[in-house]
Symmetry: C2
C-alpha cells in the first residue's frame, strides 16, 4: 500500500524535472542542439567540484571513473598508499592490483575514519609512494575521511598526489578541489547528482594531468588523454550518455539554483534527522565519530536479523534501504540522504524503522524516533522563521 | 527545503505512470490509435462506477458534469429537493436556479450528514418533487451523506430520481450505482481518479436517460443527448481532452489492478491515520459523526488564525492543504486523502501540522500526533503480516 521510496545511498530518487528532461526526444550527440547542453554541463560540474580544471564525462559507473584514475595516472610498478576502510577502499586496492600498481594499504576499522597519523606513517615507510588513494565518503560504512588533512600531508612532499573517490562525497560534502589541492576527484551520477546511474565524472589537477601524459598503462575506453582533447573541444571521444547528460543539465540547474553550500547543508540536515531518530530509538550508529552525510549507517541490534529488517522495510513499508556491504552485510543497514528526498522522507524512514523494529520484537517505544525526528525537522524548517 | 506535497481534496498528486502517459506524443482524437484508448476507458469507468450503464466523458470540470445533470434531466418549472450542507450543496441549488428549476432545500449544519428523516419530510411536503440532489462526499465539509438510505427513500415513489454528486465520492467510497439504484452520478478527474482537473464523468440510469430525452432545457456543449449517441459509437461529440483520457487509461489500470474495494479501503486508511493523529493532538474534527474518506476536516483551535496555519504549512513545511470554504474559511482546514498519497504522506501531514501548531503557540506536545499516526499506520501495513 505505501508508495515506493528509494532511500539507499545510490541509486537515488531522481527529481521529476530531471526525469521529464530525460524523457524528451533524444538529441543526437553531434547535433548542434547538444553543444550548449554539453557546455552548460561542463560549466556546472566545475562549480560543484569547485575547480577551474576541466571535469570530464565518462559513460560509465563511478567505478569506471575510479578505474580511469588508476589506469591513467599510474603505471605498472608504481607504489601508492591506499586507505582501506570499507568496500570502496578495497576497490582502490583491487584496481591497483589489476594495473600492476603496488598498493600499500592503511587498513582502517570499518565505521572509523582514517587517522592521518597512520597515513603519514605509511608514507614515511614508502618514500617512493606516488599518491594516496582514499574515499571522501566511504559509502559502504557511512564514514567521512579527513580529506583536507590528508591533502596537506600528501603535499608535504612535492609531486605526490591525492586521488579522491568523491562518488558519494562531491555535492554532499564541501570538498573544494582547487582550494584543498585535490589532484584527482571522481564522482558518479546516481548520488548527489540526482540522476540514474550510468554517468561518471573525473577531474585532474595540473600535476595529475601531467601524470596522465606520462603513464604507460593500457587504456582505451577510459583513456583520459583522448577525453581531455575531445572534451576541451566541447565534444566526447565516444558516444556520450545523451539522455543522462540532458538530465544532468537539469539536475545541475536545480543544484546551482539551490546553491552548493545549501546543497551540502541539505545533506547534513537529512543526516541529522535520521541520526536523531535512530538515537532516540536506542540504536547504535555504525560511524559515530566521523559520519558522512551521504548515508547514515546503523548497527542491527543484537539478536535481530539485518537482512530481515531490510526486507521488511521494503516489503511491508515500501522503503528500499541498503544492507551493509561485504563483511557488514546483515549486521548494519544504511539510509541514504542523497537525491530527491527531503526531511519528511527521512521522518518516514524513521517511522518505517520503528515499525519494523516493533514487528521484529525489538523493544522499541513506537513514536520516540518520530518525535525526535520531528523536533529536529521543525528546528531546521522553522528556526529562522519564528 | 522540503518537497512540494499536494494534500488538498483535489487537485491531487498524479502518479508518475499517469504523468508519463500524458507526456507522450499527443494522439489525434479521431486517429485509429485513440479508439482502443476510449474503449478501455469506458470499460474501466463502468467498473469504478459499478454500473452497466454508460459513463460519459465531458471535457470540463466536475461542476460541468453537475450542470449537465441539471440541464439535461430537468426542465424549467420542475421542483426538486436539494440537500444543502456545504458549498457543493449550495452549487446544486445555484444550478437549479440558473435553469429555472425550483429547489426545495434541506439545510444541514455544516459538518453534519443529512438526516434522512429531514429529506423524507421535504419530499412529503413536495409531492411533485422529481428528484433529490445530494453530494455523496461533501468536499467542503468532509462529510459523507447517507446515499443508500436516501436512494431507498427517493425510490419509495416510482419515477423519482436521485442525483448524486460523486465528484469526491466515486472511487473513494463504495457507492455501487446499479445496486443502490442511483439515477445520476457525476465525478471529476482531479479526485480519486488521480488526474489533473479537466475531465468529468456522468452516468445515467435508464430512468434518468429517459428524462434527458424529455427535458426541454437549453444545452449545447453539455448536451447529453448528443454525447449518448457519440460515445456509444466510441467517439465524442466535441474534441475530447485527449491527453487526460490517455492519462485516465493509465490511472484506471492502476485502480483496477489495485482492486476497487482495496481503493476504497485505501482512502479509509488514509483518513484514519490523519484522524488518529489529529485526535492525539487534541484537535476537534469538523465532521466527527459521518466523515468522508476524501478528506479530513479539522477545526482551527480557538485563538489561532486558520489562514496563517494553512499558509505556514505551505511556506515552511511544503504542504499544500486546504482552507475551509465559504463560511468555514479560516475556521477549518482540510487534508486530502485522494490521489498519489500514502500513509507516510499522511504521517508527514500530521508531523507538519504538529510543527505549525507549535510554531503558532498552540500547546501541542510535539510527537504525540506522529506517534498515534505511526501506530495506526503500522497496524495497517503489518497487521496481516506479523
Amino acid at each position: 500500500m505505501p508508495k515506493y521510496r528509494l532511500l539507499t545511498p545510490g541509486p537515488v530518487a531522481v527529481p521529476e524535472r530531471v526525469r521529464e528532461a530525460m524523457a524528451r526526444t533524444l538529441l543526437h550527440h553531434r547535433a548542434p542542439e547538444f553543444l550548449p547542453v554539453l557546455e552548460e554541463v561542463f560549466s556546472g560540474l566545475k562549480q560543484v567540484f569547485q575547480t577551474d580544471r576541466d571535469v570530464l564525462l565518462l559513460a560509465s559507473s563511478g567505478s569506471g571513473a575510479m578505474e580511469a584514475a588508476v589506469a591513467n595516472v599510474f603505471s605498472a610498478g608504481d607504489r601508492v598508499v591506499v586507505v582501506r576502510g570499507g568496500k570502496f577502499g578495497e576497490r582502490w586496492a583491487e584496481l591497483c592490483e589489476a594495473y600492476g600498481v603496488e598498493a600499500v594499504c592503511v587498513d582502517v576499522e570499518w565505521g572509523q575514519a582514517v587517522d592521518p597519523a597512520a597515513v603519514r606513517a605509511a608514507l614515511d615507510a614508502t618514500p617512493d609512494a606516488r599518491a594516496v588513494l582514499v574515499q571522501a565518503s566511504e559509502t559502504s560504512t557511512g564514514v567521512l575521511h579527513p580529506i583536507r588533512e590528508l591533502a596537506e600531508l600528501v603535499h608535504e612532499k612535492p609531486g605526490r598526489l591525492i586521488v579522491v573517490d568523491g562518488i558519494s562525497g562531491v555535492g554532499v560534502h564541501d570538498l573544494p578541489m582547487d582550494a584543498w589541492g585535490l589532484d584527482v576527484v571522481v564522482s558518479g551520477s546516481q548520488k548527489s547528482w540526482m540522476l540514474p546511474p550510468g554517468l561518471a565524472f573525473i577531474a585532474l589537477s595540473e600535476a595529475a594531468e601531467q601524470a596522465v601524459g606520462e603513464s604507460t598503462g593500457p587504456r582505451y575506453y577510459l583513456d583520459l588523454r583522448k577525453e581531455l582533447v575531445s572534451q576541451r573541444k566541447n565534444s566526447t571521444t565516444f558516444t556520450p550518455a545523451v539522455s543522462l547528460i540532458v538530465g544532468l543539465r537539469e539536475a545541475l540547474r536545480l543544484l546551482l539554483a539551490e546553491g552548493i553550500q545549501n546543497v551540502f547543508a541539505r545533506h547534513e540536515a537529512m543526516a541529522h534527522i535520521v541520526r536523531s531518530g535512530a538515537e532516540a530509538l536506542g540504536l547504535e550508529l555504525y560511524a559515530p565519530t566521523s559520519p558522512a552525510f551521504s548515508c547514515t549507517s546503523i548497527h542491527v541490534p543484537d539478536g535481530l536479523d539485518g537482512k530481515a529488517l531490510v526486507k521488511r522495510m521494503r516489503d511491508v513499508y515500501g522503503m528500499t534501504i541498503a544492507d551493509g556491504q561485504g563483511k557488514a552485510s546483515g549486521k548494519m543497514f544504511r539510509i541514504g540522504h542523497m537525491g530527491d528526498v527531503d526531511g519528511f522522507d527521512m521522518l518516514s524512514a524513521i517511522a518505517g524503522l520503528e515499525m519494523v523494529l516493533a514487528d521484529l520484537g525489538y523493544p522499541v517505544k513506537l513514536g520516540e524516533g518520530t518525535r525526535a525526528a520531528t523536533e529536529r525537522l521543525r528546528e531546521m524548517l522553522s528556526a529562522g522563521d519564528r
